[in-house]
Amino acid sequence: MTHIINSRSIQSPLSGKWQLNFIKILLSLQLVLCLSSCSDFLNTTPTTITKDNYFHDKSQVQSFLISVYSPLMTESFYGDAYLTKITADDLGYYNRAAPAMSVACVSTSISDPSLKSLWRTLYDGINRANMLLENIDRAIPASTDSAAREQYRSEARILRAFYYFTLIQNFGDVPLRTQTPTDINNLLLARTPKQQIYDFITSEMIAAEPYLPSAVTVNPGHLNQSAVRGLLARVYLFRAGENYRDAAVGNPITNSVDSITAYFTHARDWALKVKTSNLHDLVTPYSQVFIDLSSDKYNSTGVKESIWEVEIAGNRTTSILAAGRIGNTYGYGGADLKSSAAPDADKTGLANPGYSYGYYYCTLKLFDIYKSEADSARGNWNITPFTYTYTGSAATTKVTGRKYFYGKIPASLSTLLLPGKTYTDANGYIYSVGTVTDTLNTARCMAKYRREYEQVLPKDKNYTPINFPLLRYSDVLLMISEAENEINAAPTTLAYECVNKVRSRAKINTLSGLTKDQFRDAIKKERAMELCFEATRRFDLIRWGGYPETMKAVGTEMTNNLGTRWPSTMGFASDYFKVPVSYYYLPIPSYEMSVNKLIYYNNPGW
């Protein structure tokens, strides 16, 4: 501070020798003072939040835990791109003639931006979990609130395990980092064999499971005991199928026959824990589950079918960007009324079905499965049975009603709406039905997530509050059936009980008297009907083996039926099923390889 004194003092009019001496004194004083206080002067206190000045109390841990969950809802993961670009399977296709660089269009590459973002998002989540785990004991000391501390710790451990599981499913061996890095100059990390990561995942989940709340005490957005049990079953099932993809791409097989049986057993046991907890059941109708997801409700009927969901909310008209694109890119809606001057723009329901790009359409294979099983409850929900009709254009656009595809009139209208006629309801909406020749019935959009049911207003053109189902009870039941069948020589009573419970809810016939192989095929079909478009199918195909063959067959079927059962306008889609064997594993993103030189080999074929 001496510098200021100096300049001020000078203004006092001293003269001659005194002046000289005074300045000399000041100068030397200043030099000396400065030398002694330099270090303080240069040591500034950060005016920003740092790792060291954070983590002081429970609320800070809670707040940090939010960011450990948040990767789930980002647009690079379940918020959009993971569903539209990466988890494509044999039941739907990307309905654009211009292929996007993606797994879905079989045009991914080592520089695919959606893979790079996914990789980054998952490791962001892992790093956040690591940081929380390293600092939680500092923030919530052992003497205080141990229940909360252990719950938060467990949530972070499970999320970290889940992110690693997603990495394995897509990339195989990946770097395993269980602590936050401290030295920026030492960040390179080699790939860890996936079996080692599996062991880490399951031991973490098992260790954390007791500390989680019961599924009845929290909404399904929070991790709960049933969720982690179901996830363990899913992890074990996927692990049991690892030998298929390793054999296909020429990797050494790391699963032994014994271990496969053990994994199926673990899968069954963990899934069974969910069942025997008696907390969960299936909702009737099937569609209610998804209406709940779209309308910001959690198991509204009180039946806890949805066990774990990705929380997504809002419409991005506040600064909290918690809305996603489910229903917009991945799902079904109508035209954009947001720009319309009409008051309908801010309405819910049929008046304003919300804008959708409808990127995902259904394959002939999915049509045929529903048709062969006469499953209209699930078929007419997952595949749209109608289109919206409008009047006006641009600013004057208004919804007038629905036009059902030929043969898809819902039961509630079956007596009112006759072919060739229309029906007008009390609100003035007009319902009509198409003829066979309108267009081929098979060019139809996936409609599992419907913007019509959104409650948040105004509906944004591109962002929706629709949650995504990560684990449903029907999945748990089908996992029990499948594992039980694999463990035993033939399907057991338990196996039948579980699968038939799912089929009964859909109001289709129950299964009985099947061989082990027939039962396995039935489960594959059942999972398609029940769980299509829930981002699990691609991994089912991988763990069942024959993934590229299954995919190619879908494309061939399209080509063979082109212009007859399959619209010629959809001819391009068959290219999206020419999946090579290398797609069993996705490539490690080139970005990571360019800066992490300890990853010096990519997956086979990349």
């Binding site: 740092t50 707040s63 960011s67 790093n127 890095p181 920026i184 008209t317 391009f572």
Partner: protein, 1055 residues
């Protein structure tokens, strides 16, 4: 001894004054310059006494002197001082010679002024006289082509645009390469000259080599620009007014298709089954065809957004004072309307300074305030996309008025294109920058040669950014999520500085000359920044604008604060032997709060040698050839500390985007995320530089040559390095990587003709710089950067920074590349012709790229270096003619060897499927069955395939082609240019007329800037462009603001 003499003199004077008062003698005199012009305010002193006077407005003075033995000393700034013996004469006529002798020019280097003769480092002194002829708001804007080694360019032509100045090539890959500005001794890290009125500037120096910059240590590695403002001169008050008025106009248009051509294009690309709305039926039931559009006028959007715009500049300055008290004060106002409607830059500025001298003590106090306001669209990236692309005509059943007055093309609402004129007129975007600089120093001379200087400075900078988007703008219209919205972004920075230096100058027997400097400085800077935004503002009002912000819904709100401190010790010794052999050494130790522990201090030494070889005896015989000559050699280390104030810490951030998880649908669940890993080991980036140079003048100083060669290498680069994502972080500052720059600079000045009435001189400079990346982040070989969707810039070890990257374009696929199936009338590409990845169905007219690796597939492995963003050489030359009172100067500037990647060509000379989008006229020549040799790709519609019967159409296309939009040399053009930057004709009124007007000096001038351009670049308005400019991505053009041709006239009056 000296003191005794002085005392004796005073005593003698007193004694003589009293006793021999009648021996006094009156002297009258006139002082003129060599041309006979009276000099006003010349100091006339009786040598050995304090008595003296100054000349009046007619150059006359009167003084009574003690006697015939008296000697009068005449001194005047800019002229050689001289002494005249009074003798017996009563009338004196003194002619003073201007001291324009180049070598005696004083050059400001760090913390000192020295004569150019004594320079041992490479310092470029800007020729302000000629630069200021350009009539710019900011002295930087006149710097291009003036000083060798200084690359001054602007990103585009927006009024008030700040210049990018790069001295001797780019050192830093991800950091700033801007030089350090030192304005009146105050170093400013993020400085610009924009706050200084160019007319206030006394001198401007560019320190280039390490010997010159090392005294600025840690902040010197990008070079230093020293600006010194005018201080009051001894003399009668001089009031000077400079004013000018001009008009600007766009020099160039980018023609787009006319209505007929546009509609024809629509016909070509549309299907019969989904016809263009242009062929619809009007209210009278008439179905329109192409022929109906033949003579229809086109809406010229480009013409509508441009205008002829005025520019004016006024500056008033007062200066004067006596030996013990000198002052200056100035006021200036600059106002420039942009040639794009609704854009403007204006600045008000005032300055005041005072120098007080009391015995051995000198005190200076000064303050400068400026407020610059930039208003309106910056055009970059968006405006012209709409201008060029917007439809030129309405549909048959569409009202022209409605189309012109609707923010949307309603039929194309889905792709967000907006009416360019309406959007432009409604955008409210205002950036106000105000800055108050105050500084002062006291200087005390202990004994002769020992000088203490203590200075204090304080600067306050305020920045206010206001944006208001009403419903007729791109960002606030009814289709946007935010609707009408407003944003206020404000930041404020306070910086103080204290510097104390002690200088000692001593000459021993006029043989050994020593000058030594020691000092220490302290500096600290605090800043705060706030941003707030509200959306869905309910009732928009034209009068309310930003005042209506409070009625909206609060949206984003952010705040930040930061602080840095610095403490330095410095020293320098200059020694010369008989002004023949020179040696200089300097040293600076800088401590910065941005670093921790042992890394806090950095040490920056330098040394240089010089040899004035013309002082040698053996050169004397040829002194008529070599008037003067010097060789210089220097080496030194400088640093760069431009990282964040707290980058050594592991930071957490609360993020509303990626740290959100809406538990139970609650939008309040926002969490903290780790944002940076932090690097406690950060330290200075250091640049070591060698420089060898020579300054030679020939033929009695008719020809001056300065030549420098340099090599600098930058180590421990403060690189914002890419980190493996598996670490959980994306990037972080590391001291890693290395770059190298080497180059040659030549400056040549010739006085071609010099007679009494006519002078012609030419000045020319040229700079070559070669840049090379030596290493990047550990083991990283290359990195890609992008200004487009796909990476289009490339950096690789062993190559220069900022190379353009992409595919090699080979023209379109021609018929010969295909097999023709007559039955189905289809073309199938021959198996041996390479195709773009995933585009095996390519058709004639599609873009074809080179298959570099020969694998039959054109994919990301076939990308390569396709252009360079930095010039091979650049420079400028000026011819200056003076005839009596007339002066004509003609200035050219050039850049050679750089390429430009034009996003404009990618979007508007390519039909990439965007329906109803207009294109450049040059697209007319695209490939078609009638024009099968064209290399401009074909027009087609992406959903072509959706037609039921494809066979009826030709050519048959199926998928959208990604290959149309990839970066390739198809969109790269040579960006070399030669520009006639300025012509100025001025006339100094003769002294007779001036006297009649009772003025002291009048200069009238007319000038024109940016008059003529020679370039091969056709991808945009101007080749001097760099949208999204950075060291990694130079020379990208996308809807840039054109540079205006301006014509000005003005006057400069002193009285």
């Amino acid at each position: 001894m000296m003191k005794l003499n002085k005392l004796l003199n005073v005593v003698a004077l007193l004694f003589l004054g009293i006793v021999f008062a009648n021996a006094e003698k009156a002297v009258l005199g006139t002082v003129t310059d060599a041309g006979g012009e009276a000099l006003i305010g010349v100091s006339v002193k009786i040598k050995g006494t304090a008595k003296g006077t100054i000349t009046d407005i007619n150059g006359k003075f009167g003084l009574s002197v003690p006697g015939t033995y008296s000697v009068l000393a005449f001194s005047y700034i800019g002229y050689e001082s001289q002494e005249v013996k009074v003798g017996v004469q009563n009338k004196l006529t003194v002619i003073m010679n201007s001291n324009s002798k180049d070598l005696d020019e004083v050059v400001v280097v760090g913390y000192q002024e020295i004569k150019k003769r004594d320079l041992t480092g490479s310092v470029g002194k800007a020729d302000l006289d000629n630069m200021l002829k350009m009539n710019v708001s900011n002295v930087d804007q006149a710097l291009a082509g003036r000083v060798a080694g200084v690359l001054a360019s602007s990103n585009q032509g927006t009024p008030g645009e700040e210049m990018n100045i790069v001295i001797r090539g780019t050192n830093s890959i991800t950091g700033s390469n801007a030089p350090l500005y030192v304005i009146d001794g105050f170093p400013m890290e993020d400085g610009t000259a924009s706050t200084v009125n160019p007319r206030d500037i006394e001198s401007m120096e560019v320190l280039k080599d390490a010997s010159a910059t090392a005294i600025y240590g840690a902040r010197g590695s990008n070079g230093v620009i020293i600006i010194t403002t005018k201080k009051g001169q001894v003399g009668a008050p001089v009031i000077t007014y400079d004013g000018s008025f001009g008009i600007q106009r766009t020099p160039k248009q980018m023609p787009v298709l006319s209505t007929y051509e546009f509609v024809k294009l629509q016909q070509d690309v549309y299907y019969a089954s989904a016809p263009s709305p242009y062929f619809s039926t009007d209210a009278n039931g008439k179905k329109w065809t192409l022929a109906d559009y033949e003579n229809m006028p086109s809406i010229n959007w480009e013409k509508m957004v441009f205008r002829d715009a005025p520019i004016q500049n006024h500056s008033l300055m007062i200066s004067g004072g006596k030996e013990d008290s000198r002052y200056t004060a100035s006021l200036s106002y600059f106002n420039q309307d942009g040639i794009i409607k609704n854009t403007n830059y204006n600045r008000m500025q005032g300055k005041i300074s005072n120098t007080i001298k009391k015995k051995d003590l000198t005190i200076y106090l000064g303050a400068n305030y400026s407020r610059g306001i930039q208003f309106g669209s910056t055009a970059a990236g968006t405006l012209f996309s709409n201008v060029w692309g917007y439809r030129p005509a309405v549909y048959p059943n569409q009202s022209n008025d409605a189309f012109l007055n609707d923010i949307f093309d309603e039929s194309m609402i889905s792709d967000y294109r907006v009416n360019p004129l309406l959007s432009l007129q409604n955008e409210f975007k205002k950036t106000s920058r105000s800055e108050l600089q105050t500084n002062g120093y006291l200087q005390y001379e202990f004994t002769k040669g020992l000088l203490l200087k203590a200075s204090v400075g304080f600067t306050n900078q305020d920045l206010l950014d206001e944006t208001y988007n009403n419903s007729n703008t791109r960002a606030g219209n009814k289709t946007t999520a935010n609707r009408v919205n407003a944003t206020e972004n404000t930041s404020s920075r306070q910086t103080w500085l204290n510097e104390n230096t002690l200088t000692y100058t001593k000459s021993f027997d006029k043989t050994h000359n020593i000058n030594a400097l020691v000092g220490y400085t302290m500096q600290a800077s605090d800043n705060v920044a706030y941003l707030s935004q509200t959306i869905q503002i309910p009732s928009e009002s034209e009068t309310l604008v930003m005042a209506g912000m409070g009625t909206g819904t609060p949206f984003t709100m952010t705040s930040s604060a930061s602080r840095w401190t610095m403490m330095s010790y410095l020293g320098r010794v200059n020694y010369n032997y008989k002004n023949r052999y020179y040696a200089t050494a300097s040293f600076r130790a800088d401590g910065s709060s941005r670093f921790k522990g042992d890394n806090q201090f950095g040490y920056f030494p330098s040394g240089s040698l010089a040899w004035n070889f013309t002082e040698e005896h053996f050169m004397k015989p040829i002194s008529n050839i070599f008037s003067s000559g010097k060789f210089r050699l220097s080496w030194g280390v400088t640093g760069n500390n431009r990282v964040g104030d707290f980058d050594t810490y592991a930071k957490l951030t609360k993020l509303n985007s990626s740290g959100v998880y809406p538990f139970d649908n609650s939008l309040t669940s926002v969490g903290f995320i780790p944002s940076t890993l932090g690097n406690p080991n950060l330290r200075w980036e250091s640049t070591s530089q060698w420089n060898a140079g020579t300054d030679i003048s020939f033929l009695n100083q008719r020809l001056f040559l300065t030549l420098d060669v340099y090599k600098k290498s930058t180590d421990d680069l403060l690189l914002n390095a890419n980190l493996p994502y598996s670490s959980g972080y994306t990037s972080g500052y590391k001291n890693i990587g290395k770059t190298e720059n080497r180059g040659i600079e030549i400056t040549l000045k010739t006085i071609n003709i010099k007679t009494k009435d006519f002078t012609w001189f030419t000045s020319f400079n040229i700079s070559f710089n070669q840049n090379k990346v030596v290493s990047l982040t550990e083991n990283q070989i290359s990195l890609l950067s992008s200004t487009m969707t796909l990476p289009n810039y490339y950096t690789q070890i062993g190559y220069p920074l900022g190379l353009m990257y992409g595919y090699v374009y080979e023209g379109t696929y021609k018929y010969k590349d295909f097999n023709y199936d007559e039955l189905n009338r289809t073309y199938t590409i021959k198996p041996d012709v390479p195709t773009f990845t995933g585009e095996t169905t390519a058709q004639p007219g599609f873009p074809k790229y080179r298959d570099l690796n020969g694998d039959g597939q054109i994919d990301s492995n076939d990308q390569t270096v396709i252009g360079r963003g930095t010039p091979i050489h650049f420079g400028g030359f000026i011819n200056d003619f003076t005839y009596k009172g007339f002066n004509l100067s003609i200035f050219f500037q050039w850049s050679y060897g750089n390429d430009i990647m034009s996003g404009n060509l990618s979007n508007y000379q390519t039909f990439n499927g965007r329906t109803l989008t207009n294109l450049f006229t040059t697209f007319q020549d695209h490939w078609s069955p009638e024009n099968p040799d064209s290399d401009i790709p074909v027009a087609y519609r992406p959903d072509f395939f959706q037609s039921v019967n494809q066979k009826d159409f030709f050519p048959k296309f199926t998928y959208f082609k990604a290959s149309l939009n990839v970066p390739s040399n198809r969109i790269i053009q040579d960006g070399s240019f030669l520009r006639l930057k300025n012509i100025t004709l001025s006339y100094n009124l003769s002294s007779k007329i001036v006297k009649i007007l009772k003025l002291s000096k009048v200069r009238l001038f007319v000038n024109a800037n940016d008059i003529w351009l020679l370039t091969g670049y056709k991808g945009g308005y101007d080749p001097e462009v760099s949208i999204q400019n950075s060291a990694l991505t130079p020379g990208y053009d996308s809807s840039s603001y054109p540079r205006a041709l301006s014509m000005n006239g003005g006057v400069s009056v002193s009285f």
